[in-house]
């Protein structure tokens, strides 16, 4: 350590006090020579003779300076600065080259920094302040349902209590959940047990966190810890907020503390505040839940845990599985009628990453993003190959200069450092610009494409900066490889003789190889873009069975407000009337569920089918609908009729079924007029009066579309939603409608209005992300590769100016020259395309699961990529070819 310090001090002195040190050295040597001279004069030499003899004795002063300075480590630093200055001067002389390279690198770095930021957030970075990341896990459980294993992450409170009581392998168990709807702000509120604060290593900015004693059913405390962001935005960061009360649902909570900046617990988004879960659940979920809190009926929060020190993942998994089994037996004993036997359920626990997107099953977005990181690295490699090519061109153009410097005795090591200094300078400029671009455009991009919030800009995030630094080093090494290889081959004599011109077949081969590499990598990206764009087209073309444009889903959240059925019906009616009265609204319907937001499952009983065979047909969805339902949704009734006001309570019971239900239940008969009973074989017979087209309700990519519609008036209670068709753009109406309807809600309740298009955007995000990013990167790659090819062809034309001149002098026609030049470019591209397509063909099956309705070997995508690159090649070859054709043979030959 002290050696390093001393070395640093010497270097610092060498740099900062270079003049002083040099002057001291010169003084000392001058004194030496002076005293030698005096001694020699004393021996009887004349002053001139003595001076000459003293200098001879001393030796070469200049060399001694050099050696002495080497010994002091000055030279290395000075050389380095000199290399950088030299490189900077060189780059300044060729601004077009410099700007081209810096922009290319900036694009590569910006793409990587942006994508890295997102991937890091989704897959690698633990939540801020996590105390022991290596021992912390999200806990999942697996159970076998209908013969297939399913993984769950939502727990019942009683299960959590059981596990916390019996588990010995875990230090901490954290129950954590978020729920929307603080006051009327529609902000997200987090609920957790007090272990949350030990799971993290965070100290409150002000006040304190809540304690286990405050997190109790009875005699708990209504206390709240605000998130830093919420505190800043809602209370201006005033510490006087501690001790104030805020209204959450119908209750007053006392603010006891402020969480530190960036702390979001285990939530994906920054919540407004953190509440003790046992206290808040009753207020936020509703009184019904309080009644069943000791049952195993409702699962609603996630569970995280920290292994005790020294306990392996395997041991903890086994131990938690035993604890889960014990809890399950307790459940069996308490609720035997709802609980399948443990032998068929085979429950076991899974310890996974703290990060939800890693999960036991990675989310679609995280898988696409991981691919994007690979893609952005490919873009970077293409950029590097391009820059390497340009640097190589420079090295070739400077062959004569380099040969002269070698002949003058400049060491090859020094030239190597010169090349490295040049690429380091370029890479640093490129990386800086890239980070600025990522800072400005990155967060916009992330917001547009990702459900991730709280991403800081590229330049303010240390991890992204470190990553970008690594990338910069990578660029320096990769992009200087080709010119360095060329330097190693420089033959001084030959270069001086040929005047630094003439052919260098080897260098052209390197250039052609780099060109082919760029083309092949671009092909891979363009193929990927084609596959994702086609997938997205297929997704967009899926017949949804409803007209998703201009639909708003209105969710009244009653929460704590306890309403009897009469006042609930009155509220429903007044919401309907108010919505209908809004001038922007075309039509309104009641609906028990809206697409992609859950559904009620039912089991139909019909003559000739036992329940076991009906269950095998799939899950049947029960949809309660008012007469305006089909018109509002835009779902066509293909046979029979929809509902009318006549289908009221007390009238003959009717149902409408989807086409899929009609075909499944009555394969060889007309469904209209058939009798269908719901839920129980003894239920009333409902007559099928209509068949509607199939809709996508639960999943967009695969949905059986087994829909059974029951008139709202005949279906009993349980209306939770309104669906509204607006006259113009739904999202612009959403907020005014929400405010309009919120006034009707009882105290403590609130209302959420979401455009259906938002929900559809959520379920199609992974494809859209893939299509947008692969297209952007693919286009970027193709452009960079085209520029690279342009360089290759253009250089070739310059090099072969003589040859072309002679050919034309000998009577070659313009067409022959075109064939010569374009042929060369096409050869490079053909190689690249062949290699790229082969690699894409091999790799593509791995993105198969992310595609939709298209084979990963879709011929169109491959052909399209090949054609795109061939066109890019022709465009790139255009200008150099035009120049070649215009070559004046006389000029070319005279130049010799």
């Amino acid at each position: 350590m002290s050696a390093i310090l001393r070395r640093l001090r010497v270097w610092f002195r060498a740099l900062a006090r270079r003049d002083v040190v040099d002057r001291e050295m010169r003084d000392e040597i001058a004194r030496h020579i002076e005293r030698s001279t005096e001694r020699l004069i004393a021996r009887g030499l004349t002053r001139d003779e003595a001076l000459a003899e003293a200098a001879r004795e001393f030796g070469n002063v200049g060399r001694i300076y050099e050696q002495s300075r080497d010994a002091r480590g000055v030279t290395a630093v000075e050389n380095f600065l000199q290399d950088i200055r030299y490189a900077a001067r060189g780059l300044h002389r060729t601004p077009a080259f410099t700007i081209g390279v810096v922009l290319t690198l900036a694009l590569g770095v910006a793409a990587n920094a942006t994508v890295f930021g997102v991937v890091d957030r989704l897959l690698f970075r633990p939540p801020p302040y996590l105390a022991a990341p290596d021992r912390s896990h999200q806990l999942y459980f697996a159970r076998t349902v209908n013969g297939a294993e399913a993984i769950g992450e939502a727990y019942q409170y009683q299960r959590f209590v059981d596990l916390a009581e019996t588990s010995t392998s875990m230090d901490l168990l954290v129950a954590f959940s978020t729920i929307r709807g603080e006051d009327t702000m529609d902000a997200e509120v987090a609920m957790a047990n007090a272990s949350l604060w030990r799971f993290f290593d965070a100290t409150p900015v002000a006040g304190r966190f809540f304690t286990p004693a405050e997190d109790r059913w009875e005699n708990g405390a209504r206390v709240a810890v605000l998130s830093y962001d919420y505190w800043r935005s809602q209370f201006g960061g005033a510490s006087s907020v501690i001790g104030q009360t805020i209204t959450i649902a119908t209750q007053k909570y006392t603010v006891i503390g402020i969480a530190p900046r960036g702390f979001r617990g285990l939530a994906g988004d920054m919540p407004a505040m953190f509440l003790p879960i046992a206290v808040a659940a009753g207020d936020l979920i509703g009184p019904g839940w309080m009644a069943e809190r000791t049952s195993y009926a409702s699962s609603w929060f996630g569970l995280w845990g920290r292994r005790a020190p020294g306990v392996s993942v395997e041991a903890a998994t086994a131990e938690l599985t035993r604890a889960f089994a014990a809890s399950y037996r307790r459940q069996l004993a308490a609720e035997p009628q709802y609980t399948p036997p443990i032998e068929t359920v085979k429950p076991h626990m899974l310890l996974a990453s703290v990060l939800a997107d890693r999960g036991p099953h990675a989310s679609g977005e995280s898988r696409v993003t991981a691919w994007l990181l690979a893609v952005s690295l490919i873009v970077l490699v293409i950029a590097c190959a391009n820059v390497g090519n340009l640097l190589l061109t420079r090295a070739l153009d400077r062959r004569r200069e380099i040969a002269v410097r070698l002949a003058l005795g400049v060491s090859r090591g020094r030239l190597v450092r010169g090349i490295l200094a040049e690429s380091a300078l370029l890479a640093t400029l490129g990386a800086t610009l890239g980070l600025i671009v990522a800072q400005l455009a990155g967060s916009f991009l992330v917001r547009m494409l990702m459900p991730v919030t709280g991403t800081s800009g590229a330049m303010t995030d240390p991890r992204t900066l470190i990553f970008s630094g690594g990338i910069t080093a990578f660029i320096v090494l990769v992009s200087s490889a080709a010119p360095l290889a060329q330097l190693g081959r420089t033959d001084v004599i030959a270069s001086l003789k040929s005047g630094g011109r003439g052919l260098s077949p080897r260098a052209s081969r390197v250039r052609a190889t780099l060109g082919a590499l760029q083309v092949s990598l671009s092909v891979i990206l363009v193929v990927g873009a084609g596959l994702f764009v086609h997938s997205l087209e297929r997704v967009a073309a899926i017949p949804l069975g409803y007209d998703a444009g201009n639909l708003l889903v209105v969710d009244p959240k009653l929460r704590g407000a306890a309403l009897d059925s009469a006042s609930e019906a009155a509220l429903r009616q007044s919401l309907l009337d108010r919505a209908r009265a809004n001038p922007a609204v075309a039509s309104v319907t009641l609906a028990s569920s809206a697409p992609f937001s859950g559904a009620r499952i039912t089991l139909p009983f019909v003559a000739g089918l036992d329940s076991a065979s009906t269950v095998r047909l799939g899950e049947f969805i029960l949809q309660l609908a008012s007469p305006s339902y089909f018109a509002t949704m835009g779902t066509r009734v293909i046979r029979g009729r929809g509902f009318t006001d006549a289908d009221r309570n007390g009238a003959p019971r009717v149902v409408v079924v989807s086409d899929a239900v009609a075909r499944a239940l009555w394969p060889n008969q007309d469904a209209i007029g058939q009798c269908l009973r719901l839920a129980k074989p003894t239920a009333d017979c409902r007559t099928v009066v209509g068949v509607a087209e199939n809709i996508r309700q639960l999943r967009i990519d695969s949905d059986r579309g087994l829909e059974i519609y029951v008139p709202a008036a005949q279906g009993g209670a349980g209306f939770t939603r309104l669906v509204v068709r607006t006259r113009h753009d739904a999202s612009s109406v959403a907020e005014s409608l929400r405010r309009d309807l919120a006034g009707l809600m009882p105290a403590g309740a609130y209302i959420a209005v979401t455009p259906l298009s938002t929900r559809i955007a959520n379920v199609t995000r992974a494809w859209r992300l893939g299509a947008v990013m692969f297209s952007a990167f693919g286009a970027l790659a193709a452009i960079v590769a085209a520029v690279g090819l342009y360089g290759v062809v253009s250089y070739g034309v310059n090099q072969r100016g003589h040859e072309i001149g002679i050919r034309m002098a000998l009577g070659a026609r313009a067409l022959d020259i075109v064939r010569l030049v374009v042929g060369e470019a096409l050869t490079v591209t053909t190689f690249g395309v062949a290699i790229g397509c082969s690699i894409a063909w091999l790799v593509a099956p791995r993105i198969g699961p992310l595609l939709f309705g298209i084979s990963s070997h879709d011929a169109g995508s491959y052909a399209g990529a090949c054609i795109a690159l061939l066109i890019a090649t022709l465009v790139a070859a255009l200008v150099p070819t035009a120049r070649a054709v215009r070559f004046d043979a006389a000029v070319a030959l005279r130049a010799d």
């Binding site: 001393r6 000392e28 004194r31 001393f58 060399r63 050696q67 010994a71």
Partner: protein, 110 residues
């Protein structure tokens, strides 16, 4: 020139400098003269290798330099051995003596 350096085995200059400076701190010029005098002109150390050696030892922290008034009243850079330099000298001297003893023994066998 050739004779001067030929008589100096590689690595020995550092040992000589350390030995002489540990006896008495002095400046570069007087050090050169002293090497010559003590070795009876056998070792004529060229300034061209002495000064780089001094700077190298200084950088390694084995000797240190200070500007001081000479007897003649002029300023000169005076070198002295540091604690680390003394330790290094002991090591190097041992090594050298073992080496010289072994070499002498070999040369005596006929």
């Amino acid at each position: 020139m050739a004779r001067d350096n030929a008589s100096l085995l590689p690595g020995t200059l550092d040992l000589i400098v350390l030995q002489l400076l540990s006896a008495e701190p002095t400046n570069g010029y007087d050090l050169a003269l002293r090497i010559q005098a003590i070795s009876h002109d056998v070792l004529n150390v060229n300034a061209g290798s002495l000064y780089p050696a001094l700077y190298r030892l200084e950088e390694k922290g084995l000797i240190k330099a200070a500007w001081a008034q000479t007897d003649a009243g002029r300023k000169a850079k005076v070198y002295s051995v540091t604690a680390a330099g003394k330790r290094s000298l002991v090591d190097q001297r041992d090594t050298w003596e073992r080496f010289a003893g072994a070499l002498a023994a070999i040369l005596k066998t006929t």
